[in-house]
């Protein structure tokens, strides 16, 4: 197992490098720079500004420095003066991590049972009701659902604040919005996975042995049925805990998601690099977790 993990980690290095490199050159070659503003800066000032941030050096030198700073996180942001990329991630990631975790919990809490329920009696009301809800959930983007729940639960009923990240209750609406959307996917994947498994020959074998419906679900079906969900959850969880730009904007939450989009618009190269690199590393890490989970669920994978 240790060897397996080590090899997997080694394999991620070139991916991370490729992501970082691509990011650097894409932002560097995008028209406009960090100091492009409506009121254009006098050329002498611009030159010195670029010199201050090392943007006047040859691209190769900049690139190497960019790579180095990805590791150290010490490079200061251009847009957010006085704060390094490391600080930005340290400050905002815990918020996104918390929000994402709640959302994930909600997504699983709703999605798994709904999908299981639907798979128990396919093509009946017990299937149609949760699955239609899931269709709506998938189709309803968070920038629609978010304001909707705010209008209803914050403005109409007055149960929550419209936005912010202070009181514990401020977690409810954004986590729900984010989680609902994901719950829909989880439900559909669970249903699909469970149906697929329930149609397998070995389930028939279990029934022929006199196993009850509950026993079949809890002993025979869930591992195989959850494999698609687990595979999906890796990248999804990484995306979730690194923040959602839309949710953070709608609910005014000081998370990491804002920086992903904001830094690109601002051409804030250090932050673009840092956040993208961080995200990529998290995705790889979660994919590793997925691999481990899959190996745990599926003995065949374990051997290979």
């Amino acid at each position: 197992m240790a060897r397996f993990l080590f090899i997997r980690l080694l394999q991620t290095l070139p991916v991370l490098w490729a992501v970082a490199t691509l990011t650097f050159f894409m932002v560097r070659y995008a028209p406009g720079g960090p100091f492009t503003a409506e009121k254009s800066i006098p050329p002498e000032i611009l030159k010195r500004l670029e010199a201050h941030y090392g943007l006047d050096q040859p691209l190769g030198v900049q690139y190497l420095r960019f790579l180095k700073n990805l590791v150290t996180g010490r490079e200061p942001s251009i847009r957010h003066a006085n704060r390094t990329v490391g600080e930005i991630i340290r400050e905002s990631f815990p918020v996104s991590l918390e929000l994402g975790s709640w959302a994930l919990l909600i997504a699983l809490g709703i999605g798994l049972p709904a999908g299981m329920l639907a798979a128990q009696k396919p093509n009946t009301l017990q299937d149609y009701v949760p699955m239609s809800a899931a269709m709506v959930g998938v189709g309803l983007p968070t920038f629609v659902l978010g304001p909707l729940v705010v209008l209803l639960f914050a403005l109409k009923f007055g149960w929550f604040n419209t936005s912010g990240w202070n009181a514990p209750s401020d977690r409810v609406l954004p986590a729900f919005t984010l989680g609902c959307h994901l719950a829909a996917y989880v439900a559909r994947l669970t249903r699909g996975g469970m149906l697929e498994v329930m149609g397998q020959d070995f389930i028939r074998t279990a029934r022929a042995k006199g196993a009850s419906g509950w026993r079949i679900l809890t002993r025979h079906a869930w591992r195989g049925g959850l494999l698609p969900v687990v595979t999906f959850l890796g990248p999804a969880a990484a995306g979730l805990i690194t923040g959602s730009f839309v949710i953070e904007t709608v609910f005014n939450i000081p998370g990491l998601g804002k920086y992903f989009v904001g830094s690109v618009f601002d051409r804030d190269i250090p932050v673009v690099g840092g956040t993208v690199f961080f995200f990529a590393a998290l995705i790889l890490f979660f994919n590793l977790l997925v691999d481990i989970a899959q190996a745990w669920l599926n003995p065949k994978v374990r051997l290979e």
Binding site: G32, T36, H52, F251
Partner: protein, 552 residues
């Protein structure tokens, strides 16, 4: 010339650590329901304190007044720092601030400021002429690369020093006469100078503090963090929760602290207009930064007491790249300008009380209103286009309007596209680009017609007109005119106010004849604002000195 203010005050020593309990920027005070509409009023007291809650757009990039460039930063810094002059809350005319009085020499080239003896920094140090001298040196230091250093270029030697051509700062027109007397010598008569000096770039900074947390003349000092912050304004920085709120509280050390009514102001960075509007409706804000265009009518109808729409010193126009046919023909540009129905645009597209613009400078800017020669109609436009070789738009080459991706800009462009098609029979295409790509295209003259906006830096026609000098950094149209340049330069040397405005009239007449730009409308600024907020007057720059605000 100006009444001398001598208000000796002692800080009340009131328990100002205003945020000992509630961390919530919106506080926990109970909110009452409004009578009209479904707007809840934000509480006027939080834990017994008068706290103004204000939506403030984007997260500030920094709170170093010499480095920032944005409006959100300006809004906060206004409370934290005090310039030599301040602003009248009603019309922003210069009033005594750090300087209790000043004198202007007869040739209007030398200003002598008398700094009040009781002016203090928030750490107790006295505010002296040396502070201003060192601060202004800092912003002009080439190594600092301050974007707004050019605001000092009216001062003798300042531009040369800033550009590194002059090495000896003693030759720049700043002079410490004594601890409390500071003299500034200008390049030419600058009637708006007293307004200019209350811009953020003229705010003093506490250099010992700057140096303690970094280098004085370089970026990267950490002095603007709340625990390090030293300022001289009516408020001090209490908290800076990134992407949550910035809280500034009354500065007991300020010479005028007794007159300051607000205990605290919290600036909430909210980038989404709809989110901000919902927060306002929920009683979490007293003042918003903006109003979603779709909500303007709703508020005007249901809760008119909660919305303010005031003229703003800014305009919305199209730049024309005059270097390429067919737009290098002035008759074509004139025809395009004449064929825009500006009334229709402000009435049906932008809908926030904007004023149709037929020239560059907003009317009434420091006593200047452009004398229009009277506007001809669509018939004239058709004639001009025919004269240029395109009768009824026949043979008119394909032309493109570039704008940055945003709904309002698209709607305006679509309306104009339609008007030109209808009135002139020409087809134009629309192209939208992401903000920085668009700025880049504009700068590179990589466009034909391009949406633009300009906000005055100070209340004077000069800020709208000197940008069109040949080869000017903000020109970006490829247009230039010798006579225009001469008139603007001469205006900069003219001390007589009336004669100076007359020069601007002539210059702008040339601009509007040559039409390198198509003015469309003058902006307004709209806010949702609780009727509890007192002392908030409409001002052209949308600035509202906080010393004069209070909550009912």
């Amino acid at each position: 010339m100006k009444p001398i203010f001598l208000v000796a005050t002692v800080g009340l020593g009131l328990a100002l650590a205003g945020c000992k309990k509630s961390d919530s920027p919106a506080g926990s005070g109970s909110a009452q329901s409004a009578k009209k509409g479904d707007v809840k009023d934000a509480p006027s007291r939080i834990d017994g304190k008068m706290v103004l809650l204000r939506g403030n757009g984007a997260e500030p990039s920094d709170l170093d007044p010499q480095l920032v460039t944005g409006v959100p930063e300006h809004m906060i810094l206004m409370g934290l720092f005090e310039c030599l002059t301040g602003q009248d809350p009603k019309d922003l005319h210069p009033v005594p601030a750090a300087a209790e009085r000043w004198e202007v020499s007869a040739d209007q080239l030398t200003y002598t400021f008398y700094i009040r003896k009781n002016a203090q920094w928030s750490n107790g140090d006295a505010v002296t002429a040396h502070d201003f001298h060192r601060s202004y040196r800092r912003i002009l230091e080439p190594t600092l690369a301050a974007q707004y250093a050019y605001m000092h270029h009216v001062v003798k030697g300042a531009q040369d020093y800033n550009e590194g051509k002059l090495k000896d700062f003693a030759q720049v027109g700043y002079k410490v006469v004594d601890d409390h007397t500071f003299q500034i010598t200008l390049v030419g008569p600058t009637p708006y100078f007293l307004s200019l000096v209350n811009h953020t770039s003229w705010m003093p900074v506490h250099l010992p503090t700057v140096e303690k947390h970094g280098k004085a003349y370089e970026r990267g000092s950490k002095w603007t963090r709340p625990e390090n912050f030293v300022c001289n304004g009516p408020f001090t920085l209490a908290k800076w929760e990134v992407n949550q709120f910035i809280s500034i509280v009354r500065n007991p050390k300020h010479w005028n602290a007794a007159a300051v009514k607000l205990d605290e102001i919290r600036f909430l960075p909210i980038t989404d207009q709809a989110t901000e509007e919902r927060m306002f409706r929920d009683g979490k804000l007293h003042v918003t930064d903006t109003v979603p265009p779709t909500k303007i009518e709703v508020y005007q109808k249901n809760s008119p007491a909660y919305i303010r729409i005031d003229p703003y010193l800014a305009n919305y126009f199209y730049r024309i790249n005059v270097t390429k046919p067919p737009l290098n023909d002035k008759r074509v540009r004139q025809a395009l300008a004449l064929a825009i129905d500006r009334e229709g645009i402000v009435k049906f597209v932008t809908k926030a009380g904007q004023i149709p613009a037929f020239n560059m400078t907003p009317p009434g800017t420091a006593g200047y209103t452009f004398r229009s020669s009277g506007s001809a109609g669509v018939a004239e436009a058709k004639k001009l286009l025919a004269a240029a070789g395109y009768p009824d738009g026949k043979g008119f080459p394909s032309v493109e309007i570039l704008y940055n991706t945003q709904d309002t800009h698209r709607s305006v462009a679509e309306a104009i596209q339609q008007m030109w098609k209808q009135n002139l029979g020409i087809e134009v295409k629309l192209l939208n680009q992401e903000w920085k790509v668009y700025l880049d295209s504009q700068r590179q003259l990589n466009y034909q017609i391009c949406r633009a906006g300009w906000t005055g830096d100070y209340v004077d026609p000069n800020t709208f007109l000197d940008m069109w000098l040949t080869g000017g950094g903000q020109n970006e149209t490829g247009w230039g005119n010798k006579e225009y340049d001469r008139l603007i330069t001469e205006a900069g040397r003219t001390a007589d106010a009336a004669a100076r405005l007359e020069l601007f009239q002539k210059a702008e007449a040339i601009l509007m004849d040559e039409m390198p730009i198509l003015p469309i409308y003058f902006y307004t600024r709209s806010h949702l604002i609780s009727p509890k907020v007192k002392g908030w007057h409409p001002t052209l720059l949308d600035l509202h000195p906080y010393e004069h605000l209070s909550l009912e």
